[in-house]
Subunit: 360 residues, 2 copies
DNA sequence: CAATCAGGTGAATCGACTC
DNA sequence: AGAGTCGATTCACCTGATT
């Protein structure tokens, strides 16, 4: 394949399908791999198993190695398929997540966060033999330490009532009407809640981006991607899951652009040099600027630089200079006296930006 | 050494010291190994103050392979020294915990739980580049799948207001009077809170048991073990840490047997951000909210912020904005039209809280 | 004396762009 | 490619001084 089939599900083993996809073509990958693909009865075996110890050890070694080989194969292909500034999410539990994490690091991925999905309503530990296993772990990583990945910091902050979003997320498991059923039975045994995908996709992608899910299952990634105006590419081995997923996604209506929009960072806003405020006559040359405590002052010159008794330079340089600090944001440090009130010069920058956007 | 030197700290590299200890001699091991952080330049807060980073020589490794070799060496010795029904705890962060977990499984340990220590007061992400790294991970494991390990289920349940103790623990970081200082400086850069050790030791050992800590540091394991009537064996490379730890432990008085089980945890009503309602699909992005008089309206966006014609922000900010008021409780101000009735969004919050209350 | 405020700090893989 | 410059960015809790 020399191009990506957008908004479709490709049937097959993800290792082979991934190998057919072009280099550096997707913006984000969300992967919910099998937790114990080759480990046979390990999950269902009770703790007081009567299996012969030697055989058990050999079995375990062999199956861990198999699981590692499988994991490293699909993760390596994902690394190739991902754009240089794209990011990868993997979800797992203590059965597999350590092997996944070590493989990620060995391949060269750069871990950005490990995220804990705290389940609001986990399955209790019936036997009382361990702590209630009440969480799963996601690893979020970039292709390399130098990658300039997407992180919608302000949108995440908005989602959390204006506090930084933390690495522990409290979300209910998927149940009720959200749980896809066929003939009254749950269609997939490990369907993930849409809220989890909503947060991951909103955090690490933008509208129009391409999101790949190599273990598509019941299609949660596709459903949320479509709703949020992203494209999806699914890979799934089992035809019955593909049928379920396509039907489910077909019923999803994308949000309109306004509802998809999120709180943006000031970093993304157009840069306005202080000099353009002087040119526009919003700040007159000769104006005296002061800091909030009125301990420091500086005078505006015709070229937009500031001058004190002993130095001159940009608003940032002179701010740092009077503070004796290594750096300073002059926009928020310097103020103009206006009717007895101190107004930060940043307020005037907003004014210029509004004029610019009206003209655009 | 053919016997264990109880309640002492042995000076030296833990790989060598462990090799000198007898087989199957300790009941529990708690290990807080170097995390192998890979920090770049120096980090400053928004107020330009400098973050005191962990730059200790003991956390430096030449490569991932070196770190793995070190990790596998001490974990293999621990496996030999541990009694057959003993358990091992290791704490780490995303920098090292995946490598530790994979090594544990390869050596033959049987993972019982991964535990998330949710920090009540983590350091923020000052640059707004990632999710706040607000937790660390502990892995708790037995020597083999067949081991009959100690788990004080009822003590843990009592600690958690008669609900099963979950795998996510909310605890403050070590600060204030508990933080050991020498000459006004913190004596160890990564001292762990005693509450964390209290819970681990209470869960997985009995009075009189021997608890080994191969990275003894400031001696938190020893202090809590002594207080709870367990024996400790510490291993530590740096003489200055040993001096600090011994002085600290000397000041600890063991609790009498009755007092050992009495500790309570407090539970607060979980904060539910408006964004959670959007993620959960209870309020759709694009929904129009109105105030009781229907004079004002705003539109919900995908990140839980509200947008009017000229502004965007939190439910509280936009409420205040349209009112021209300094503040506003968005939960009671904003309503959704439902079958001709206006329902305050606060009603939906109650719904989410009910789903989440079990996890708080 | 109680309340308030200023200041400090914690295992952190913590920029983006131009020249 | 390396240096220079702009300018964005923090939460919970503790301590000690001040009101």
């Amino acid at each position: 394949m020399d191009h990506l089939p957008l908004d479709r599900v490709i049937e097959g083993d993800c290792r082979q399908i991934l190998a057919s996809l072009p280099d550096r073509s997707v913006d984000m990958i969300f992967a919910d791999p099998p937790y114990n693909l080759q480990l046979g009865g390990e999950l269902t075996r009770p703790d007081n198993s009567k299996v012969d110890a030697v055989t058990d050890a050999w079995d375990k070694f062999a199956s861990l190695a198999d699981y590692d080989a499988f994991t490293r194969a699909w993760l390596a292909e994902c690394h190739r398929v991902l754009k240089d500034d794209g990011t990868l999410w993997v979800i797992g539990s203590y059965h597999n997540i350590f092997r996944v994490g070590a493989a990620l690091q060995d391949i060269g991925y750069w871990i950005l966060n490990d995220i804990v999905w705290r389940k609001a309503n986990p399955m209790p530990n019936f036997k009382g033999t361990r702590f209630t296993n009440a969480h799963e772990t996601l690893i979020w990583c970039a292709k390399s330490p130098e990658a300039r990945y997407t992180f919608n910091y302000d949108a995440m902050k908005a989602l959390n009532e204006d506090l930084q979003m933390r690495s522990d997320w409290l979300l209910p498991i998927c149940s009720g009407g959200e749980r896809v059923k066929t003939d009254g039975q749950k269609a997939h045994s490990t369907q993930k809640p849409e809220a989890l995908l909503h947060r991951a996709i909103l955090a690490a992608s933008n509208p129009g981006d391409v999101i790949l899910d190599p273990f598509f299952g019941s299609g949660t990634t596709g459903a949320v991607a479509k709703r949020l105006g992203r494209h999806f590419v699914g890979i799934e081995r089992e035809p019955r899951y593909i049928r379920v997923a396509l039907e489910r996604i077909g019923a999803v209506t994308p949000l309109d652009a306004k509802a998809q929009a999120v709180t943006t960072s000031r970093k993304a806003e157009p840069r306005v040099p202080f000099g353009s405020l002087v040119e526009a006559g919003i700040v007159q040359p000769g104006t005296v600027l002061v800091d909030p405590s009125r301990r420091h002052s500086a005078r505006v010159r015709a070229d937009g630089s500031l001058a004190t008794r002993d130095a001159s330079g940009s608003i940032h340089q002179i701010g740092a200079h009077v503070l004796g600090a290594p750096a300073c944001n002059g926009w928020t440090f310097w103020h103009v006296e206006h009717k007895g009130q101190l107004v930060p010069i940043d307020a005037f920058r907003q004014q210029v930006r509004a004029q610019m956007s009206a003209a655009a």
